[in-house]
């Protein structure tokens, strides 16, 4: 049983599914749910993810059956059939995806047959049950992708050895998903791998339909996107590789080597790329070193983020920037076996001591961990302080950070104190952006 949460760091299954399908350009969602779900979840995405807005067919333009008491009593299948028919009439989509909410799941509407009726009439029509009580938005990401893999990706015998699909970053939940995917795509292209990300400009439904041609699925998360990659393997036999999201030169080098080994790429080319990218990274960093060193900007650090990002941020800060991680808070509601995996993974942190690791979603409890890690001083002359300190977390950590005298940067859901467009922190370029944003807080923020 899941207990209550103060200021949760996710929305529901439908929320994750909706932000996922609406991130694939050309997709038209059909929300088969009570009227308010779509509006509320869109507002959650806006303020949760750096004002990431509607796009092609999200926000208040998403078609929805807006079921009411009548459907709850008599069933909503007739209304859904009507809504799919009229949606196909009026909305220009390359793919239509029915997503259900709590009410329609509870009354047990058979969406499979409703969707079946419209198959083969043109663009693909898919459907999946995503009632909010099933879990968090992360589950919605996996459920939506699994449904798309089963119902929308085309059968194919073709396997392109240099082609992969990239998963693991959840639109609307991982605030930098676009910038991060673009950087990973760039890096993979440098070593001769064509990576589809589905969610960045220039990609969309067509790439999804052709995703079966990939030689492998790469998931840059150990937790999110794994169930979907399993569903993909079940249908197409495509292997998948679950890696840590690479942030910074050291992690990115490891990432490229791991992908190269998995795909059997030319090792020499990969090493040349790593060497050049690392050199470029330091060509930038050496210029900021004057400011960094003269100001003494090494920090103790606490990272608050989801299972995909918390460790990667910590690792970059420890092994490339030379900061001292004190605390890592993983905010998604993970099962025990996933927790031990993350704990093991933290053991491999090479520098800076081992931070405390907690699994917590609740805002006040997280604030309590921060205070315990960096208890404000009692005014003694000689203080064994953890200062200067820095919190990379959500906007909810802004006040708790200030309370312990730490600087703060919003990097995880919810992010409502900054606007995010194409910024990303992954890879080599992303890490440079992160350095800019971290150090700019010295002057009050970028």
């Amino acid at each position: 049983m899941n207990g209550f949460v103060e200021r949760p760091r996710f929305s529901c299954t439908l929320g994750g599914a909706l932000s996922t399908v609406t991130a694939i350009h050309g997709t038209v969602p059909i929300v088969h749910a009570a009227a308010g779900c779509g509006g509320n979840l869109f507002t959650a995405q806006l303020g949760g993810s750096g004002y990431y807005g509607s796009g092609y067919c999200g926000g208040l333009s998403a078609p929805g059956s807006n079921v009411s008491e009548h459907e709850i009593v008599f069933g909503g299948e007739e209304r859904l059939a009507e809504q799919i028919r009229t949606t196909l009439e009026i909305m220009e989509g390359e793919c239509y995806v029915v997503l259900t909410g709590c009410m329609t799941d509870i009354i047990g509407d058979d969406i499979r047959s409703a969707v079946q009726e419209f198959r083969g009439t043109g663009a693909p029509v898919a459907g999946v049950e995503t009632g909010g009580f099933k879990g968090t938005s992360y589950k919605g990401y996996d459920l939506a992708l699994s449904a798309l893999f089963r119902q929308v990706v085309a059968e194919t015998d073709e396997r392109a050895t240099n082609r992969v699909n990239l998963w693991g970053l959840v639109p609307g939940l991982d605030p930098f998903f676009r910038g991060d995917l673009l950087e990973l795509q760039r890096l993979l292209a440098l070593v001769g791998v064509q990576a589809s990300t589905f969610f960045v400009p220039g990609e969309g439904v067509r790439d999804l339909v052709e995703a079966g041609k990939a030689a492998a699925n790469i998931v840059v998360s150990q937790q999110h996107g794994i169930a979907a990659a399993e569903a993909f393997r079940e249908r197409f036999g495509t292997p998948y590789l679950a890696l840590e999201l690479p942030i910074g030169p050291s992690a990115s080098a490891r990432f490229l080597r791991q992908v190269a080994e998995f795909l059997g790429l030319d090792g020499q080319l990969v090493e040349r790329v790593i060497e050049r990218e690392t050199a470029d990274y330091y060509r930038f960093v050496e210029r900021v070193a004057d400011f960094y060193c003269d100001t003494d900007l090494q920090h103790y650090v606490a990272v608050v983020g989801n299972a995909t990002s918390a460790l990667p941020y910590t690792r970059f800060l420890a092994e490339d920037l030379g900061w001292l991680p004190s605390l890592v808070v993983v905010t998604d509601n993970l099962p025990d076996e996933e927790r031990s995996r993350i704990a093991l993974s933290l053991d491999s942190l090479p520098h800076g001591g081992k931070p405390a690791l907690v699994f917590e979603t609740d805002a006040s409890v997280i604030a309590g961990h921060l205070t315990r890690a960096w208890r404000p001083s009692g005014g003694e002359r000689y203080q064994k302080r953890f200062a200067p300190a820095f919190v990379l977390g959500s906007t909810l950590e802004q006040e708790p950070a200030a309370a312990v005298g730490a600087r703060h940067l919003s990097v995880s859901y919810p992010v409502f104190n900054r606007v995010i467009v194409n910024r990303g922190y992954a890879g080599f370029h992303g890490a440079l952006h992160l350095v800019e944003d971290l150090l700019s807080t010295y002057f009050g923020g970028a």
């Binding site: 303020g47 208040l60 009229t86 009410m103």
Partner: protein, 510 residues
């Protein structure tokens, strides 16, 4: 006399008012057909997502300081709160309160709770919220799922009463229960009426004792009025209305948004309750009249020159202050007119389209006319009898002006805007980007730091309209480089083609 607040659960607006949420035509025809009862069953066979009564209830309760919100719901309901945090912090700050984060919990209902019920979880959440924050009020917002599985939030509130310091206020906000999301305002008022102390003393007892009656009469004669604000107005709007009321000799206090919990105990110490927006307050103001004998005024919204004057006159008339009001209005209008002189020429003849709340759009249409613009049409989130007078006035001499009733429904909006090609759109949040993508600049009709109401509001809207129409490059570039999700054929179709009368098979639903 019995008020709905005697019942545990409030009625939906469909059962209480002559509501309509799907209409396309003209202002006069809307009023006529609504009066004839022809619109109460109208539906759409194609719809887009919108906000429900829960969202609107949250816009009210999240603003109240020293209160904690508990969503009794699966984890997604109330996710919108992350977008309200900054709004509420700034709103508190503007009213001299300490900036504080918006505190809310979710009882986090899951599959097991759907089967077994979620009351125990809610109880645990209330106890913990009380312990952590020691708030004055805890609002329990119940959404669709607990509504359908039969959780009794009032019973839970009763059970925990002895264990918590806060006053627990259950709010019934199941989204599926009503098409009129403004029912959410009633839901909050229903909870305030039933659970929150609204008088310093037991008003009933005072009324029964002769000295008490004298005390009550004294209060009634005072010149203190409660003005009922809405989420969509900012502090600067309150300051403007308070200024105008003060000029005619009245003292204004604002409820319920941003009012401190302890201030509610003084709510009944006023001689008149004045609504700013009829869509917002009738449920509560009728309750306050029936239970506490406080008269109320629900007239037009004080937006634009004519409506601000009308609103002020109506308030003044209750106190015999008509002459003062006339003097104030004359002086204010003269001063405003001088200030507008630079802004009138660039706005003359500008074609304008509007969309938003029932009362606000019609009043704003009149404001834009006053500024010399041509209002091509406007869209209201819903319609009911409170609109009749205002809608007929707004349409005077403009019989052809389009009116669309729709809870956002951006497909109708896109069609209407593409046909009308206005110079400016004034719209509710959530709709403006879709209009901008059609190349039209947009003025958000609510945005808290901006002033919109009273005479200062007229000036500010004029100033913003001139600014927004002075450079529309952003919108034109957006139009060139993005597209709407509709088939080309949609723009050639009747914008109201998917509105059904709900009685036959087309809408499929009675």
């Amino acid at each position: 006399m019995a008020h709905h607040t005697d019942q545990k659960v409030l009625p939906k607006r469909e059962d209480r008012l002559r509501t309509c949420h799907a209409y396309g035509g003209t202002s006069c025809a809307l009023v006529q057909e609504s009066r004839g009862g022809c619109l109460v069953r109208s539906e759409r066979s194609f719809t887009q997502v919108c906000n429900c009564q829960m969202s609107l209830a949250l816009t009210m309760v999240t603003t109240i300081p020293d209160a904690v919100i508990i969503m009794h719901a699966p984890p997604g309901c109330g996710g919108s709160n992350v977008s309200m945090d900054l709004y509420v912090r700034n709103g508190l700050n503007a009213r001299g309160e300490k900036k504080a984060p918006l505190i809310w919990f979710t009882s986090n209902l899951d599959e097991a709770d759907v089967i077994a019920g979620g009351e125990e979880k809610l109880e645990a959440t209330i106890v913990e919220a009380d312990l952590r924050f020691r708030p004055r009020l805890i609002f329990v917002v119940s959404t669709c799922t607990p509504g359908i599985i039969g959780d009794d939030i009032d019973a839970v509130a009763g059970r925990v009463r002895s264990r918590v310091a806060a006053t627990v206020v259950p709010l019934h906000c199941e989204g599926f229960k009503t098409r009129i999301s403004a029912t959410g305002y009633d839901a909050v008022y229903h909870g305030l009426a039933r659970y929150v102390q609204l008088a310093p003393h037991d008003a009933q007892r005072l009324a029964e004792e002769s000295s008490g009656q004298a005390l009550l009469d004294e209060r009634r004669k005072s010149r203190r009025v409660n003005v009922f604000n809405v989420y969509s107005i900012g502090r600067s709007d309150e300051v403007e209305l308070a200024r105008l009321l003060e000029l005619i000799g009245l003292e204004a206090r604002f409820y319920p948004n941003f009012a401190r919990p302890e201030a509610f105990t003084e709510l009944t110490e006023a001689s008149l309750n004045v609504s700013i927006c009829a869509t917002h307050d009738d449920y509560f103001l009728t309750f306050l009249e029936e239970r506490y004998g406080i008269p109320y005024l629900i007239d037009t919204m004080p937006i634009g020159i004519r409506n601000t004057g009308r609103w002020l006159r109506a308030v003044a008339a209750r106190f015999g202050l008509e002459e003062q009001a006339e003097r104030v209005i004359a002086a204010e209008e003269a001063e405003l007119e001088r200030a507008l002189s630079d802004y009138r020429p660039p706005l003359a003849g500008k074609r304008v389209y509007l969309g938003g709340g029932e009362m606000r759009v019609a009043a704003t249409a009149m404001l834009m006319h006053e500024l010399g613009c041509e209002v091509v049409g406007f869209r209201a989130h819903h319609y009911d009898e409170f609109g009749d007078d205002l809608y007929l006035t707004a349409a005077q001499d403009r019989p052809g002006m389009e009116v669309n009733v729709a809870t956002t429904q951006t497909f109708e909006l896109a069609n209407l805007i593409e046909r009308a090609q206005p110079d400016l759109y004034l719209g509710h949040s959530g709709s403006n980007a879709w209009v901008a993508k059609l190349g039209v600049p947009t003025l958000p009709i609510f945005s808290a730091p901006q002033t919109y109401l009273g005479y200062l509001g007229v000036f500010e809207v004029a100033r913003r309209a001139v600014r927004l129409t002075a450079n529309r490059a952003f919108q034109e570039q957006l139009r060139r480089h993005t597209r709407q999700p509709y088939r080309e054929s949609w723009y050639r179709n009747d914008p109201f083609a998917y509105i059904t009368d709900g009685a036959d098979g087309a809408g499929g639903r009675p």
